[in-house]
Symmetry: C2
Subunit: 97 residues, 2 copies
């Protein structure tokens, strides 16, 4: 039976990974872009990103731009791989297998 | 933003609905068939079916065959509709929208 990845299946994390894997390999998005895209609070998004980072699926890069802190997020190769596997499992499941 | 239905998104319930909506409009499956398909325990499947029934997405039909109780499950028209909407939302989300 097709296996769903429980870390990725949660809606906010699924949307986050989907947004990240559609970027190029060296591209990243900033935190506020994701927060607006997903219509979530800072705290909620932060908690989900932490979970994805712990699993090794995303990389979080904090830096300063004009002395203001910015957080950039990108999918790791491992994250892209598990996301692709998750989508493949969903496709099988949605056909009722 | 595409909305995911939280009742249907849970993996066991997603698989259950997917299995049911691929049946014809007047077809139903029995409990033990679903339990084997999903590799879950009686109690676990029962709880998820209860939640889907409460939401009006499935119909549970209990009857006796040769004096043995049998439980038959089918998707309701409302269940088919929300499942189709959920799949459409997933398709949008998986493209990173």
């Amino acid at each position: 039976m097709a296996e769903l990845n429980e870390i990725i299946h949660q809606p906010i994390r699924l949307r986050t990974m989907a947004a990240l894997v559609t970027l190029g390999a060296n591209e990243e998005v900033d935190f506020s872009y994701l927060r607006k895209l997903l219509t979530v609070t800072d705290g909620n998004l932060g908690a989900h990103l932490h979970k994805l980072e712990e699993a090794g699926y995303i990389k979080i890069n904090k830096s300063f731009v004009d002395r203001k802190p910015h957080t950039y997020i990108s999918a790791t190769p491992a994250g892209r791989k598990v996301f692709a596997e998750h989508v493949a499992a969903l496709e099988v499941i949605l056909k009722g297998k």
